[in-house]
């Protein structure tokens, strides 16, 4: 049977079609988030159906997750990102005990029990400094795309120290660093370290290895390394990290459709 998961995040919408019989992702895709969340999600969902050569009637259930999940009215039910990322990561990396998810607008640390059940979690609710928004601001300021930013960080030899905890003031700091001739790669790597430090503070002392890194920011080269340094343990990037939430939603759709209880 085929299930769909829609992760309506703050910056982008991700969708996955998953075949539970073959344990296989049939299609996945991503679209920029916007005001008309449901229309954007519907268009993405229909595109995935076309890509996979499927009809809507062949989808046995749809679960929406993410910040905008309640706007996705064609979903059978909604489940939070915590549960969905846990299910998605457990499917891809069953031995993972801690998930670090850094998204566009927030970051989360999720601790799993053996079997993938969520034991506890923490979410950043204070500022953008521990989220992808910080990197986005830097990309905009430097007028470069996400991929180039990532490549640039790889060239750093001595990451800059970004001392400000506020993204708005950190921007001023970054301008100052660049004006003083600090190499660009070092500034970008400094921003990555700053995000990693914020996430480590969020994690506190409840990191249990193996640690799996997921969310769109995990695609940034250097972020996993920055996390490894502050957490002092190996950090593994999930396969297709931007889709783990949507995958978890699709996996949750099966029991949700059967039991009508949100798959929990």
């Amino acid at each position: 049977m085929i299930y769909a998961g829609i992760d309506a995040g703050s910056r982008s919408i991700k969708a996955v079609l998953f075949d539970t019989s073959r344990l296989q992702i049939l299609a996945s895709g991503l679209a920029d988030q916007g005001v008309e969340q449901e229309r954007l999600a519907t268009e993405l969902f229909e595109k995935l159906l076309r890509d996979a050569g499927l009809e809507r009637s062949q989808i046995s259930g749809v679960v929406a997750t993410g910040y905008g999940r309640n706007a996705i009215r064609f979903a059978d039910t909604t489940i939070t990102e915590i549960t969905c990322h846990a299910r998605g990561v457990h499917q891809l990396a069953p031995d993972a005990r801690t998930i670090i998810e850094i998204g566009g607008q927030d970051s989360k640390v999720i601790v799993l029990e053996a079997g993938g059940r969520v034991r506890d979690f923490a979410m950043n609710d204070r500022c953008a400094a521990g989220t992808g928004r910080f990197l986005e601001m830097v990309a905009t300021r430097l007028d470069m795309n996400w991929e180039k930013l990532s490549a640039l960080a790889q060239q750093s030899t001595k990451p800059a120290i970004i001392s400000n905890m506020c993204v708005v003031f950190a921007e001023t700091e970054i301008i100052g660093l660049l004006a003083s001739g600090q190499p660009l790669p070092d500034v970008v790597a400094g921003v990555q370290n700053s995000i990693a430090t914020r996430v480590a503070a969020l994690a506190g002392r409840f990191i249990s290895p193996p640690v799996c890194f997921t969310g769109g920011v995990a695609l940034q080269s250097g972020m996993a390394r920055a996390l490894e340094e502050v957490l002092a343990c190996p950090v593994r990037v999930a396969p297709q990290p931007q889709f783990t939430g949507a995958l978890g939603a699709a996996l949750s759709a099966k029991p949700a459709n059967k039991n009508g209880d949100g798959g929990l």
Binding site: V118, D120, F121, L264
Partner: protein, 460 residues
């Protein structure tokens, strides 16, 4: 016949009130419809809240929302008004031991910006007085003292200092600098007795060195003297002992209410009404006798509902232990809307729920209860009580709500989380809830929902 328990919005309460009046509702002098607090007092937040539909809950809300008016009436009758600040529940016991003295809690103004949805501009005025948003919303108290639009200016202001909230000390100092004279009394930081020290047992399974108890007792003696001078009557041991018995009557009622509601298979009363009721332990909402009547009514309602197997929240709701009071009352409704219920609480004044020992000299007993304040000791002590209460009430998860700007313990949430996780392994989240949380409702809802999902998954 009483209708089935349910929660009503303000419009529904208008109809319910009319029905209750037709049915012969008898109300105290402060009674009336809830709507009038919006119309006359600009308590706009009530329009966003859900209330229990019982007459007992109506009485509770009217009692809470008429406190300022009742204080003004008491002043007009010649009562002496005492503002007791920071200390949560000890000095009011002393004040109410004297005839013609009414204590209130100016700190309570911290809910005014929430209730009035900031239309009162108290927070902005506090900023203009140099106390900005980096301080706890208790700062609303500062302009409330000056504009006279809320509570009457007290005849005596008493504030504890030392091992209490830094924010509050700063705000109270600013108040004093603006000409409001304050009687300060010192509260030492509670610590465990050293091996060579005489130890005293405190309520709540705590201990402290005798030297600390002696210190607090001496301080309270000074406070008692000032109260006696204000009342024109010596606050002797007999007066105090009677005051302690009266306070214990409230505490016993509250403990029965908490036990009835939190141990029931489903919640017979909503979280919001329980929060307001528990707050009565601190200061009796300026009327000790009426507090007893209000709590009697709530307890009878809760017991009747349990007996009739009628509940306001479903039995399937996730059992949540809630730590710290919320700056926006809406948050308590939100938890229940998402499928949670409160099964235990630590709203920062658990010591005010413990019985004051009646077998000790009165000032000694009050000193011991004051030292048992969770705010004056290590957070680990507080966490230990939370763990005990979570186990006793079968909590499935813990919410530690943060008060924006409050700085009584920066690491409080982390410490509680760590200890709860180690000892009982249930999930804990921290939420920061501002005085009006509307803009944050999706985020708060998402976090609470994630917690409830996690707790439900653990049932399997």
């Amino acid at each position: 016949m009483n209708p089935a328990p349910r929660k009503l919005n303000l419009d529904e309460w208008d109809e319910r009130y009319e029905q209750l009046c037709r049915d012969g509702l008898r109300e105290p002098g402060y009674g009336g419809s809830l709507r009038r607090h919006v119309v006359h007092e600009k308590d706009f937040r009530l329009e966003q809240l859900q209330f229990d539909n019982s007459a007992a809950a109506l009485r509770l809300w009217n009692f809470l929302l008429t406190e300022n008016a009742r204080l003004h009436q008491a002043r007009a009758r010649g009562d002496k008004i005492v503002g007791t600040m920071k200390d949560l529940g000890t000095v009011p016991v002393m004040a109410y031991s004297l005839p013609g003295v009414r204590a209130f809690y100016p700190d309570g103004a911290w809910w005014t910006p929430c209730l009035m949805e900031c239309s009162d501009k108290l927070l902005q005025q506090a900023e203009a007085m140099g106390i900005d948003a980096s301080f706890c919303p208790v700062r609303a108290m500062l302009p409330a003292f000056e504009n006279g639009e809320h509570f009457p200016k007290p005849d005596l202001l008493i504030c504890s200092t030392g091992a209490v909230c830094d924010d509050f000390s700063a705000i109270a100092q600013r108040l004093e600098h603006r000409g409001h004279s304050i009687l300060w009394w010192e509260m030492p930081r509670r610590r465990a007795p050293a091996a060579n020290e005489i130890s005293c047992a405190l309520p709540g399974n705590l201990t402290a060195p005798k030297i600390q108890v002696d210190c607090v007792r001496t301080e309270l003696q000074r406070v008692g003297q000032a109260l006696g001078e204000l009342a024109g009557k010596t606050l002797d041991d007999d007066c105090l002992a009677a005051g302690i018995r009266a306070a214990n009557q409230v505490r016993q009622l509250l403990n029965s209410l908490r036990q009835t509601v939190y141990s029931a298979p489903a919640a017979p009363l909503p979280a919001l009404e329980m929060l307001v009721a528990e707050m009565l332990a601190i200061h009796f909402c300026s009327d000790h006798e009426e507090t007893i009547a209000v709590l009697d009514g709530l307890l009878a309602e809760a017991q009747a509902r349990v007996e009739q197997n009628q509940f306001v929240i479903s039995a399937d709701a996730v059992r949540i232990f809630w730590v710290n009071p919320v700056a926006d009352l809406r948050a308590m409704n939100l938890l229940e809307e998402l499928g949670g219920r409160i099964c235990g609480s630590d709203y920062m004044f658990t010591h005010a729920l413990d019985l004051i020992p009646e077998n000790l000299p009165p000032l000694e007993a009050l000193a011991r209860i004051a030292l048992a304040d969770p705010m004056v000791g290590p957070t680990a002590d507080r966490a230990a009580r939370i763990v005990r209460d979570c186990l006793a009430n079968r909590a499935e998860a813990v919410v530690v709500s943060r008060i924006p700007g409050a700085s009584h313990c920066a690491r409080e949430g982390e410490i509680i989380r760590e200890i709860v996780r180690q000892q009982i392994g249930i999930p804990v989240i921290e939420l920061e809830i501002p005085p009006v949380c509307d803009a944050m409702l999706p985020t708060l809802g998402s976090r609470l929902q994630a917690l409830l999902e996690t707790a439900r998954a653990r049932r399997l």
